[in-house]
């Protein structure tokens, strides 16, 4: 079947198997291999991409479901040679080791800050009706959909904190 979508600002017209997931379309068809396949079942977060600005697991989505959507992957975050602030923070804070979960972590972190700014609650939000304060507990909970087996979590928190600024 046929699907048109925008990936990292570039229009793509795909002829594809109905079974093709967004993840496999990115990796195998569009050669955007920065989005990783860790579990292929929505249990690890390595395939996290932004669809219309919202983070999702690309492995649990058919590319057919994304006709007209705007997809941003890890390859779409930097501006030329200038890293996205979140990418730079991950590098500076050493928020990665093997690197396989890293693109998903970074995409997730970028979207997570937007979710907080929009006032979306999390399990760590103690006051559901008040303004959400981006505590460390909030960051950890909101990033829990991205497993890092190397366990760079403390550095991931530090990286996100360095981009988000202090708790206010």
């Amino acid at each position: 079947m046929h699907t048109n979508l925008t990936v990292n600002g570039k229009g793509q017209a795909l002829d594809h198997d109905t079974r093709t997931t967004l993840l496999d379309a990115l990796r195998e068809t569009l050669n955007l291999k920065g989005t990783k396949k860790g579990c292929d079942h929505g249990q690890c977060g390595a395939c996290t991409v932004l669809v219309n600005g919202v983070r999702i697991n690309a492995c649990l989505s058919l590319v057919a479901m994304h006709d007209g959507d705007e997809v941003v992957t890890i390859e779409g975050l930097a501006s030329g040679d200038v890293l996205h602030p979140m990418q730079q923070a991950f590098l500076t804070q050493d928020a990665l080791q093997c690197g396989y979960c890293t693109p998903g972590q970074i995409c997730s972190a970028v979207a997570m800050l937007k979710e907080v700014a929009e006032g979306q609650p999390s399990q760590a939000t103690h006051d559901l009706v008040g303004r959400i304060s981006l505590t460390d507990e909030e960051i950890r909970e909101r990033m829990s959909g991205n497993i890092c087996r190397c366990s760079a979590y403390p550095q991931i928190l530090a990286a996100i904190r360095s981009v988000a600024g202090d708790v206010v």
Binding site: L60, A64, S108, L128
Partner: protein
């Protein structure tokens, strides 16, 4: 995945018609459960009807002061809605305790209610499972069943329903509205939409073939506090061992049955003025542990007593 055809109907009527034309087809909403099951070779629909873009994504006030939540709202959208957070904090809490942000951004209200069990034996196609392959047996019965159900089980199935959201909705006396394949609308309590396994665990809900959930209607919240508490092996991104939604003196349990389990005996005892521990015990007396899951009886009891202590004192969230 087996090959399938795909269509994305433009309106609700076309979606219903598409299902009528192909009774083996499945509705596809967020896909976070159905695609997982298809990849796992558990579901093999020959045709998918993508309803993700149908105009069912609104959250509206009802005339009686409740809310009507469109079936295609995302879990994130519902949990973030200011009215949900202030009127039904138990629902917001339940939703954000489920899955991950990525999953909740995609998963829908209707899809969440339709998700199938996470029983490890259901997911393993090499094992017997009456739900997956009727008549093949239940591997969980004599197996590693720490996560299995303690209420409403049968010798055919001891799986649990994985939804957190449904537990809160059950405690809130929410109802679903559907559109049948014949085009009729009907309404059903969330607490009644899932079937207990009995001899036919493969039949999971009261919905008929081609029937579409269009919305969830929540009546005004009763007085008293609301609280959702979930116990699990990991701090986040894990299914419940048990969970409780307490809304005033109403109690619904998750992780203990193939449906959100309203603890009606507990509720009745509380109405009759019986103290919390005994009231909780009234429902627990009907539990049927299967070995490794017997700890759930104690656990849900203690969790519920603590939650009711707070909600009956009027505490919210």
């Amino acid at each position: 995945m087996k090959p399938f055809t795909y269509e994305r109907p433009k309106d609700i009527a076309s979606a219903i018609k598409a299902m009528r034309a192909n009774p083996a087809a499945k509705f596809l909403a967020g896909g976070t459960n159905l695609l997982d099951l298809m990849k796992s070779e558990i579901e093999h629909p020959p045709h998918l009807v993508d309803i993700g873009r149908l105009p069912l994504a609104a959250i509206e006030n009802t005339r009686d002061g409740g809310l009507r939540i469109g079936a295609m709202t995302t879990n994130t959208q519902v949990a973030s809605d200011a009215r949900v957070r202030s009127l039904y904090p138990v629902l917001a809490q339940a939703i954000v305790s489920g899955g991950s942000a990525q999953l909740r951004n995609k998963a829908t209200t209707g899809g969440n209610l339709m998700q199938r069990t996470r029983c490890a034996y259901f997911y393993d196609t090499a094992k017997p499972c009456n739900k997956r392959l009727p008549g093949s047996g239940c591997a969980a019965l004599g197996g590693l069943n720490r996560n299995s159900a303690i209420f409403g089980t049968s010798d055919a199935c001891i799986a649990t329903n994985p939804s957190d959201m449904a537990v809160a909705l059950a405690a809130l006396d929410a109802r679903i509205e559907t559109l049948t394949a014949e085009g009729a609308t009907r309404s059903l309590a969330v607490a009644d939409m899932h079937r207990l396994p009995g001899d036919t665990p493969e039949i999971e809900t009261e919905l008929k073939s081609g029937e579409l959930i269009t919305s969830v209607i929540i009546p005004p919240a009763p007085p008293g506090g609301q609280i959702y508490r979930k116990v699990r092996d990991r701090a986040s991104y894990a299914g419940a061992l048990v969970s409780v939604a307490a809304v005033g003196g109403r109690v619904a349990w998750g992780g203990v049955a193939l449906k959100p389990w309203r603890a009606e005996k507990t509720e009745a005892a509380l109405v009759a003025g019986i103290e919390i521990p005994e009231a909780v015990g009234a429902e627990l007396a009907t539990a049927e542990p299967r070995g490794a899951n017997s700890f759930k009886i104690t656990l849900i009891g203690r969790l519920t007593a603590a939650a009711l202590g707070e909600t009956l004192a009027g505490r919210r969230a």
